[in-house]
């Protein structure tokens, strides 16, 4: 098991390293010019002198390899440099924003599981009945509704019309309900269908038939045998949903004026703020690679066949 974890961790590190090269090159070779953007935003005429001065100031006059080495060396110590535009250290800002986004993502994940598990289970139990049809329509709507549009609808209904929830900003749990619901809508839909299928498959397993023959009660079969087995694949779904919800949070943050990492990244992209884009992209890679690593390890713990592959 130790060997398995070590091997997977090593893969993850290699992946991160390759991603860092890819991100660094992609930003610098995409044709944009941070110097021009900086001068434009600052209202400085882009004279040869100003361009040269700014290029030196931003450290963009060095060869690209030197720039990469300096960056990666500092990044390993969690020093992502200073933003070209806010002139603030990136790491504290990034982690503050990231904390907010993670709070929103985890809350959305909680909502996803709280709603999707009963939806999936009961639509399987009451297959082809009213509740099942309701969940099917709900799932269809869920996968087809863009989160930002749903977010705006929520604001109009719950904040403008009913004055029930705060439309913007950050604060208590009240501020999380609408954005979290908006981004989890799709995950709830997918997860409900996923659980339904798993549940129905588990119903057809032999051990269920044997349990029935043994005279085990219906409630016990559902709760102990089927439910547990049908929820196992959710570990995979967990990784998938985290990524989905995290991505959704980045989009929805602007609508709800939620100070998350997505807003930070969008403005950095707009201003060609290279150090922030790099830090954000690396952080995203790290989060996704870490989630995959955790999922792999969890699977290995649960299913011994995987660790001996």
């Amino acid at each position: 098991m130790k060997k398995f974890i070590l091997k997977r961790t090593l893969y993850a590190i290699i992946c991160l390293f390759l991603a860092s090269i890819f991100i660094f090159l992609l930003i610098r070779l995409n044709g944009t010019d941070a110097v021009m953007n900086y001068l434009q935003v600052s209202g400085i005429a882009p004279t040869d002198e100003a361009i040269e001065h700014t290029r030196i100031m931003l450290g963009l006059n060095e060869p690209i390899i030197t720039q990469y080495i300096v960056w990666i060396k500092n990044a390993l110590q969690l020093d992502f440099g200073t933003s070209y535009f806010t002139n603030r250290k990136i790491a504290p800002d990034l982690f503050e924003y990231l904390g907010n986004t993670l709070k929103l993502t985890l809350f959305a994940l909680l909502i996803t599981f709280i709603i999707s598990i009963p939806f999936g289970v009961f639509s399987a139990i009451y297959k082809n009945h009213f509740f099942d049809y309701f969940v099917r329509i709900f799932s269809f709507l869920g996968v087809s509704t863009p989160s930002f549009w749903l977010g705006l609808l929520f604001i109009l209904f719950f904040s403008v019309e009913l004055n029930l929830l705060p439309p913007f900003g950050i604060g208590g749990i009240n501020h999380l309900i609408m954005p979290a619901l908006a981004i989890s809508f799709m995950s709830i839909a997918i997860n409900a269908r996923f659980i339904r299928i798993n549940f129905l498959q588990a119903c057809n397993e032999r051990f269920i038939a044997y349990a029935k023959m043994r005279g085990v009660g219906k409630y016990k079969i559902y709760s102990k045998h089927i439910l547990f087995n049908s929820l196992l694949p959710l570990i995979t779904a967990f990784g998938m949903h985290i990524a989905e919800l995290f991505g959704g949070a980045l989009v929805i943050e602007n609508i709800f004026a939620y100070p998350g990492v997505g807003r930070y990244a969008v403005s950095a992209i707009y201003y060609s703020d290279y150090p922030v884009i790099q830090a954000f992209s690396m952080m995203m890679c790290f989060v996704f690679i870490l989630i995959n690593l955790i999922t792999d390890i969890l699977y290995a713990i649960i299913d011994p066949r995987i660790r001996y592959e």
Partner: protein
């Protein structure tokens, strides 16, 4: 008992305090008066003051200098400082503070080099505690106007500088202005309170909270849910939302024209090097339609380079009237022929490329109208969307046929803006370079900033503008305006002629 009384007073003052909630798109920055982005100009203007200000009727008025004298040779400006002024931390404002601020600004001279005053500046002499002399290397007439700009010539308390410098940051944003910057939360809000020690008329409200709501639609919703009371400046909300709000109880204001949105035609590049092509384009564009449909009537059409309100901006010429027939005829009379619906000359079709910033919806919409208008007279306009830095590289390198451009607005007009026309880094220089009168234009611009004679100045500016108009170098599209939406509970809401100033000072909250 004393404690109880104190709590009671606090409670009363809390209940009476008035707070204005404003929507903004980002934090205002650390508010360093001598630096640029990400310091938001409207906020720098709230906290800091300079020697002079620019009034709503285009005049230089006293601020921290009560009066000034200009030597006969135009090289020495003597400023008499206002006595009894204190920075918001209680520190005295005096000649020493001015000197330290100028030293800090010029310790970072390279950063401000695009300002002609920085290039003309020689040294600052402290005569006594309340008198300073600004010495120039050569005459620079717009000196007072550059000193009225929001940055970099404004004053921070010396104790707020780091080792007498501001280039690497400041300890705290301490100015003499009407407002004090007291609190900020990253990505959430910035808060200002009234400076109770302000030397002049104090602000009417007690505090301003700038809530950060980046999305334009969300700003409108925030207004409706009373999360905010006030939205100012162009681009904060869509014009469509602005028009809808006009039909409601909200106060909606449109400022006077602030600057001009124009399209520069490259006189050095085929086919816009042909004056007839440039004139025909000017006559073929239906600006009324652009003003009405693209800007919902919030921006008036522009017939000239400058709006009439710009000092020395009015010229003795008539506008290029919208007349597609005449435009087409002008081209036909000058050797162009129709083939397959488009004009051709020497076997070459009249294709023209217009460059715009891809994510700028206004530029895109204007370009589309232009494309339709020019098709009517046989010109094939090709729309070229650019990433913004690539767009500005085109400005700088002259790699364009038609490109979007804009004037800068008060107090830059006309001399400070025109000075940029002689610098190769600007689209204006590149657009004009094909004109045989370019040396004359540049010469006039040089003279313009060096003459103290008002009549001569007016003559020079008009001469430049007349050449540019006669040569049809630019296509003025609309005059840029700012918009403002305020809750019905606000009093004293107004707009400013200065693009980056938000006029908070007279705002009151009705009981």
């Amino acid at each position: 008992m004393k404690k109880l009384f104190f709590v009671f007073i606090l409670l009363i003052s809390f209940l009476n305090s008035s707070e204005l909630k404003v929507a903004t798109s980002k934090n205002v920055g650390e508010l360093n008066p001598h630096l640029y982005s990400p310091n938001e100009m409207f906020a720098q203007n709230m906290v800091y003051e300079g020697f002079v200000s620019y009034s709503q009727d285009n005049q230089i008025i006293p601020s921290l200098a009560t009066s000034w004298e200009i030597s006969e040779d135009g090289l020495v400006y003597t400023f008499y400082l206002r006595k009894g002024v204190k920075f918001s931390n209680g520190e005295d404002f005096n000649a020493n503070a001015v000197k330290l601020n100028f030293d800090a600004i010029f310790a970072n001279k390279q950063r401000h080099i695009s300002f002609a005053l920085v290039r003309a500046f020689d040294y600052l002499e402290v005569v006594n505690d309340y008198e300073v002399k600004l010495h120039l290397k050569h005459i620079y007439e717009p000196t007072l106007r550059e000193l009225s700009l929001i940055r970099p010539f404004r004053f921070i308390a010396p104790s707020a500088m780091i080792d007498n410098n501001t280039k690497d940051g400041i300890k705290a944003p301490i100015g003499t202005g009407k407002w004090k910057f007291v609190d900020t939360k990253l990505g959430v809000y910035d808060k200002f309170v009234k400076n109770e020690n302000y030397w002049g008329e104090k602000a009417k409200i007690d505090s301003i909270v700038c809530k950060i709501i980046p999305d334009p639609s969300s700003k409108v919703i925030a207004l409706k849910t009373k999360e905010i009371d006030y939205i100012y400046t162009d681009g904060e909300i869509s014009l469509e939302d602005f028009i809808n709000l006009q039909k409601s109880d909200y106060q909606t204001l449109i400022s006077k024209p602030l600057s001009t949105i124009l399209i520069a035609q490259n006189t050095a590049k085929y086919p816009t090097n042909d004056i007839n092509v440039r004139k025909a384009i000017n006559m073929a564009i239906n600006k009324d339609e652009i003003s009405k449909y693209v800007f919902y009537g919030t921006r008036p059409k522009a017939d000239f380079f400058y709006d009439d309100n710009v000092p020395n901006g009015k010229i003795d010429r008539s506008a290029y009237e919208y007349n597609p027939k005449k435009a087409k005829q002008l081209l036909l009379d000058n050797g162009w022929e129709f083939k397959n619906g488009f004009l051709e000359k020497d076997g070459k079709r009249l294709d023209i490329v217009i460059s715009y910033i891809g994510i700028n919806a206004e530029q895109k919409a204007i370009s589309e109208v232009l494309q339709a208008n020019l098709k009517e007279i046989g010109i094939n306009l090709i729309l070229q969307a650019n990433e913004s830095t690539i767009f500005y590289k085109r400005h700088r390198n002259g790699e364009f046929e038609l490109i979007f451009n804009a004037t800068w607005g008060a107090p830059y007009e006309p001399e400070i803006f025109m000075a940029s026309m002689v610098a190769p880094a600007h689209a204006d220089y590149m657009a004009q370079i094909g004109l045989k009168q370019k040396p004359l234009i540049d010469e006039n611009i040089e003279k313009l900033s060096k003459t103290m004679n008002k009549d001569e100045k007016s003559k020079l500016a008009k001469e430049i503008l007349t050449i540019l108009h006669d040569e049809a170098v630019y296509i003025p599209i609309v005059y840029h305006t700012n918009i403002c939406v305020a809750s019905p509970k606000l009093k004293g809401v107004k707009t400013s002629i200065l693009k980056y100033e938000i006029p908070f000072d007279d705002i009151e909250i009705k009981e």
